[in-house]
Amino acid sequence: MNGFLQAFVNGLTLGAQYALMALGFSLIFGILGVMNFAHGAFYALGGYVAYLVDKTLGLPYALAVVAAVLMTAALGYVFELVVIERRIDDHLATIVLTLGLSLVVGASLLAIFGPRSVDFPAPLTGTLRAGGVYIPTARLMIIVVSAAAIAGVYLLLYRTRLGNALRALADDRTIALAQGIRPKVLFPLAFGLATGLAGLTGALVTPIFSLAPFVGEHVLMISFLAVILGGLGSLPGAVIASILVGLVESFVGFYIGGSWAPLMLFTAVLVLLVVRPTGLFGAKAAHV
């Protein structure tokens, strides 16, 4: 029973961190129609910016996290404005462009910091225990931040004029254009917001595990899984599916063994993509 509860808690903590990544990934796809293959690279970049500010400049960790968010958001904003924008209507082109960016960011991190993982320990080291179930404080912090970020994005999208405009763009670009909404202003903002979320995740999560130039690849794959399961472009879907992926990974990992979880998840996603491309929760299939 303890094992079951612990697997459940583990699944939630995994899911919370996946949700942060998948949220940004889904935001970009929903609003811009772009599949951001560089999302994992922004995660790694966020980790390294936080590492630089915290360890090299010696500033407080909270400040390092803020710096990571700002840097990744700024890079995302500029990349959308200068590069993506010019090929925004060509899905295949944007995939290749973001792939290119992910190679450039990964290679730059490798050239600057080297291939080894850097020494970047988490500032919170304690562990909470109750009734045979434990949860490290740092993980708890991620759950809190993740929940706050999800709430923030929700408020932004559903309670502000900017959010209304963004949602209008996601729903139907032609109609949104007719209503005078200007994607040229909003797309970079949305992209920057999403990459900032990836940077935030990187700054929060990498100290708990490890930070090396290639940590983004795995995270990107998980984002794919969560976002496909949840329905591309559906934000609530992405969040729910992330938690689902976390739970599946945790339970399968605990009861069957480590290497079966990915096979089962990937196969499930493959089948789902073919049978129901809109995902478990998605309703619209604008890009199918």
Binding site: V83, R87, V96, L99, F224, L263, F266, L270, H287
Partner: protein, 628 residues
């Protein structure tokens, strides 16, 4: 008897540059094979001998991506099919035969056969979804290999695989390996070349404008499947060369992320069949040159990818071709310079004359009311989410009948056409042609049964000449008209003199008329016209009367969605009015236009005088404003 201008000429491009280009490929292929035979005689440089197979692997994997790019699909599945080919070789060479020819056939056929059912499932997806699903597929294949301990060796793979043999010769090292790899590479290029050349019009049309191609009768799934199956086989050959060279099949060799390199090489190389060759060579060189500093080759690759997509969409070969084209154009002088306005004006005047000449033909004979209807549409409905875009529309069409459909924007007129033409299935109701049900059939089936359509926005193959547009439509449609009729149509639309112009460079009106001509030339039994007059100048609108008359005379039924009330009044004996998806009124135009419900639906206020006004200018203007 005066012969009409031959359309044989219409469909044949001028000059024999095409033939030259066709000849270039086999010549190059022979040169490469010859080189692969001669080089090992001259030198035994081990690097050269082994680098060539490495390039061939990269070439064949890139060819996989390239083939699918030709039908506008991005595939990350190259490692998946390479693995299938590689493990096929490993198992076959260990247990079955080492005969090179047998292995070549097996390693192509097994992945290709696997791709056939997979394609049936996956090719329903497009764009981003297809790219994602292939990425996931590559992951799944490796995970399966790792778990399949028994036949595939699990994490350790299969080692000690005997090299391929041909007679007494072993093709595992040195010169024989180089020759074998080069020949497999060329076989892959040849297969890809034959497939893309044989169906170049089909592939190019799917890539450029799939809905239009389908509405002209092309079956997209057939050509996508052809591309997917060939691409899978070619990737299988990459696996063959790789595993034969290494002597072992290992899950590591088929890492899903290696697909990124193949995509990069395909994008870098560009659209020509030489693209994958050049892309693979460049990429292999890059990887080799920075072998001890992989980060720099990655950096360079990433940056180049971004620059190519932004500034050189055709990749290396496309840029070279364009540069060459500019050079030739420069020599030829101002031949391709835009026409002078004077010339355009002259042409326009000429068009007007032609229109006036044909004016007498616009009076239409009423169809025989006792004839059986060709098309019967019953209670057709379509819902998007919770909204009913079309809600219970019924009508029938007899041969030679013209039915007008009018209604304010958002009334569901285009949705109605989209359902009858098979662009998406209805949520309810029936579509019957000659008593047989075609409900929910795809666009190409509709077209092949004789239900053709035009599009509200211009829809032509803009990147190629008018001549090539016609050639494509002819290749797609089993119902294509004969040369004499085509010549008549070309004359009637004023396109006869512009056959070699790029369709996208034509003035808007002519593009729109070309968009009308293409479906008409598939000899439809039912023609669905979606606002053919929108965006046309007044003088050009007359041509629509002519075209409609032309098809009606041949017994074709016409459904005309239009905002130009003059046109509707002129050519439609019967009109249906739609509002918010429902049929509102039906009858002869004169009655319908004075129906207060109709006027309310259009203007929000009852102002019958204006709509019924003989001159009609205000009403038309209002309707068009409404539309814009």
């Amino acid at each position: 008897m005066s012969r009409p201008p031959s359309t044989d000429g219409v469909l044949r491009p001028p000059g024999n540059r095409h033939a030259l280009r066709l000849l270039a490929a086999p010549v190059l292929a022979f040169a490469l094979v010859a080189a692969s035979f001669v080089v090992p005689k001259v030198t035994a440089d081990p690097f050269l001998l082994s680098f060539v197979p490495t390039i061939v692997v990269s070439l064949l994997a890139t060819l996989h991506v390239w083939l699918l790019l030709r039908v506008n699909l991005l595939s990350f599945a190259s490692p998946a099919f390479m693995a299938v080919g590689g493990y096929t070789l490993a198992l076959a060479a260990t247990h079955l035969t080492t005969n090179a020819v047998a292995l070549l056939a097996l390693c192509f056929l097994v992945p290709a056969a696997l791709a056939l059912p997979l394609g049936a499932l996956l090719l329903r997806l497009r764009g981003t979804y297809f790219a994602l699903v292939t990425f996931v597929l590559a992951q799944v294949v490796v995970l399966i290999v790792v778990i399949a301990d028994k036949p595939l060796g699990g994490t350790s793979g299969i080692s000690g695989i005997p090299p391929a043999t041909l007679g007494a010769e072993t093709l595992g090292a040195g010169g024989p390996l180089l020759r074998f790899s080069a020949i497999v590479g060329l076989a892959g290029v040849a297969v890809a070349g034959v497939v893309t050349l044989r169906w170049r019009r089909h592939f190019a049309a799917i890539d450029e404008n799939e809905p239009l191609a389908a509405s002209l009768g092309l079956r997209p799934w057939a050509y996508k499947t052809a591309s997917f199956v060939t691409a899978a086989g070619v990737a299988g050959l990459a696996g063959l060369v790789l595993v034969n060279q290494l002597g072992n099949a290992h899950p590591d060799s088929f890492s899903p992320f290696s697909a990124v390199n193949h995509v990069a090489a395909a994008v870098l190389g560009g659209v020509s069949i030489l693209g994958p060759v050049i892309g693979a060579v460049v990429l292999s060189w890059l990887v080799h040159a920075f072998a001890s500093q992989a980060e720099y080759s990655q950096l360079l690759l990433g940056a180049t990818l971004i620059l190519v997509v932004l500034y050189a969409k055709g990749g290396i070969t496309g840029t070279v071709q364009r540069g060459f084209g500019l050079l030739v154009a420069g020599r030829a002088g101002a031949k391709s310079a835009p026409e002078s306005t004077a010339e355009t004006d002259a042409r326009r005047a000429e068009n007007l004359d032609a229109a006036r000449d044909g004016d007498g033909a616009t009076t239409l004979d009423a169809p025989d009311p006792s004839a059986e209807p060709i098309l019967v549409v019953t209670e057709l409905s379509r819902r998007f989410g919770g909204v009913a875009a079309v809600d219970g529309v019924s009508f029938s069409l007899r041969a030679g009948e013209v039915l007008g459909v009018i209604g304010p924007n958002g009334a569901g007129k285009t949705t109605l056409i989209n359902m009858v033409s098979g662009h998406f299935p209805p949520s309810g109701g029936r579509v019957e042609l000659d008593g047989g049900s075609l409900t929910g059939a795809p666009a190409h089936t509709m077209s092949r049964h004789g239900i053709a359509r035009s599009y509200q926005q211009t829809s032509v193959f803009a990147s190629v000449s008018v001549r090539e547009n016609l050639a494509r439509a002819k290749a797609f449609s089993p119902r294509w008209i004969d040369e004499a009729e085509l010549a008549e149509l070309l004359a009637a639309t004023g396109l006869a003199g512009r056959l070699d112009d790029r369709a996208g460079d034509l003035p808007y009106g002519l593009q729109k008329l070309l968009g009308l001509l293409l479906p008409i030339a598939t000899r439809p039994r039912v023609l669905l016209l979606d606002e053919p007059a929108a965006g046309l100048e007044r003088a050009e609108r007359v041509r629509i009367d002519e075209l409609v008359d032309w098809v009606v005379r041949r017994g074709c039924a016409v459904l005309l969605v239009e905002h130009d009330m003059d046109l509707v009044r002129r050519i439609c004996p019967r009109v249906i009015v739609m509002d918010t998806g429902k049929p509102l009124a039906e009858g002869v135009p004169a009655d319908v236009f004075t129906d207060p419900r109709v006027i309310t639906a259009y203007l929000g206020v009852a102002d019958s005088d204006e709509l019924a006004d003989e001159d009609n200018t205000l009403a038309v203007a209002t309707l068009e404003d409404n539309h814009g």
